[in-house]
């Protein structure tokens, strides 16, 4: 046991940026945070001018129900709290529905440098852009000299997702990510997966893996989030469960809804599920495998996962999903060897070698693990190098008004 323990601490570390709260970031960015969609153009102008910044160009923050305005405020705060963010500049319009003063107070409480500009108060677009550029430049100068430090792997929060899936996803790339998830959990790290829509037909399997079993609070919560999502669809007259698997799925070889669901769930690995995080929630001291109640669509789940505090995401694809997120590196694991060959400038790892019989799931799993250590320590993912991370959004529940 002693040897194992030593291997754990000596074997797997990464070079990260230590934050005032003790967490480690894989990136050292100045986040420009529009508190409302109406501030996006000013925020974009600031980001274009100032190196070292990224922007969260979402489409929310006004003319929404109080519940959603609270949600948007919470998510923007947790994005700013992410360990990949070194400092933040809030770009407020002045009359928005979100609580930009709470944003400022909660972000300042983290000990990170935080500034705010208010477009209406400053006298409009051009003046706000000038003030914002000055403020962002000052923040970049304050934080860009920070050095990376060695951090144990247990400080990692990994997010998981699959998108643009095909026949290979459930057999290759998702299995590889499942292998990595188990390994990280065993090393004391945190893994978060979502895509509640994909649990349909497999929720009983997840509930059986919950700490306390299917009838315990975590198991019950898993059934609850699936039911909640189905009821939202039903409220506008749609039944998500009917007709699964689809005729296309059956033609492709999927024989039951359980098989379809498991093909997606396998990327979470096999460890017990410790609990369910709401969409807006961040990981504080949670360890092990967690679910985040997030939909499957990229802009919303990537935002939710970045707000969780994940330093990176591992993303499984078959047909080739190219996008990333402004402050969270996204490692693309491609299960389809033909897609990998065609899109090698977008895909970070070829899991298609499993389908061709050249490598095993465990071999590619180890390759993925080696790659994530490099990415955590600063190596760019392919989408980062191409700046393919502009689209993001916040998952809201109610109508716009």
């Amino acid at each position: 046991m002693g040897i194992c323990k030593e291997e754990k601490t000596v074997g797997y570390t990464f070079q990260g940026y230590k934050r005032p709260d003790g967490r480690y970031g894989s990136r050292n960015l100045v986040a420009v945070i529009p508190s409302v969609i109406c501030a996006n153009d000013v925020a974009q102008a600031i980001c274009r001018q100032v190196q070292g910044t990224i922007g969260y160009f979402h489409h929310q923050g006004c003319c929404q129900l109080p519940l959603d305005l609270h949600r948007v405020t919470d998510v923007l705060i947790n994005l700013g709290k992410s360990p990949n963010v070194a400092a933040a500049l809030i770009v407020s319009l002045g009359c928005e529905g979100t609580d930009h003063e709470r944003m400022l107070a909660e972000l300042r409480a983290t000990g990170k440098p935080v500034e705010i500009i208010r477009i209406q108060e400053l006298g409009g677009t051009s003046r706000a852009i000038q003030a914002g550029i000055d403020a962002a430049q000052s923040l970049v100068l304050q934080v860009s000299g920070q050095q990376r430090e060695e951090a144990d792997i247990s400080n990692v929060v990994m997010a998981i997702k699959c998108g643009a899936s095909d026949t290979t996803s459930g057999m290759a790339s998702n299995c590889v990510i499942g292998y990595v998830a188990d390994k990280l959990v065993d090393l004391g790290a945190t893994v978060v997966f979502g895509e509640t829509t994909e649990f349909l037909g497999g929720e009983h399997i997840l509930a059986n893996r919950a700490v306390g079993g299917p009838d315990g609070p975590v198991g019950k919560k898993i059934f609850e989030i699936v039911d909640r999502m189905e009821r939202r669809a039903k409220s506008i007259g749609e039944d998500m469960r009917g007709g699964q698997p689809t005729p296309g799925n059956i033609a492709g070889g999927l024989s039951s809804i359980e098989e379809k669901s498991l093909g997606a769930i396998v990327k979470s690995g096999h460890r017990p599920i410790q609990g369910v995080l709401e969409y807006t929630e961040a990981v504080t001291d949670q360890k092990g495998l967690w679910i985040k109640d997030a939909p499957g669509r990229e802009p919303e789940i990537l935002t939710g996962m970045a707000a969780t505090g994940a330093q990176f995401m591992m993303f499984s694809t078959g047909r080739g999903a190219p996008q990333g997120f402004p402050s969270m590196p996204v490692i693309k694991v491609c299960g389809n060897p033909n897609t990998y060959a065609r899109m090698s400038h977008d895909m970070d790892l070829n899991a298609g070698t499993i389908i061709t019989g050249e490598k095993t799931i465990e071999q590619v799993g180890e390759e993925a693990f080696a790659l994530l250590l490099k990415v955590l320590s600063g190596q760019m993912t392919k989408n980062e190098a191409l700046s393919y991370f502009g689209s993001m959004d916040i998952f809201c529940l109610g109508p716009v008004i």
Binding site: S256, E259, V266, I361, E362
Partner: protein, 99 residues
């Protein structure tokens, strides 16, 4: 050298494997590999399209079809080792509305 006809078994508890090869017809031998690369040659019973499943052992009627280490349904009749497994001889146990 003959081209590899590969079928993958993703979990040790599985009793089916998924074929990743074209032109698998009745009697074709496929190489079934697990996640560590251990392999077994199995002759296929029936014509099996790319991405579809075969049985790795005899599965009696009513027994669970196991993939990913979990039940994905039950055999609706007895299934022989090597036989094509799909909606014609297995049935989902969830989301059917009649159970």
């Amino acid at each position: 050298m003959e081209e590899l006809k590969l079928a993958l078994k993703v979990d040790d508890k599985d009793n089916v494997a998924t074929i990743f090869a074209e032109q698998i017809t009745d009697g074709t031998c496929v190489e079934v590999r697990d996640k560590r690369g251990n392999s077994e040659i199995i002759p296929v019973i029936g014509d099996v399209p790319y991405g579809h499943k075969i049985a790795l052992v005899d599965i009696p009627k009513g027994s669970a079809i196991m993939k990913y280490g979990e039940s994905i349904g039950a055999a609706s009749r007895g299934i022989r080792k090597g036989e094509y497994v799909h909606v014609h001889n297995m049935e989902a146990m969830r989301g059917r509305g009649d159970l």
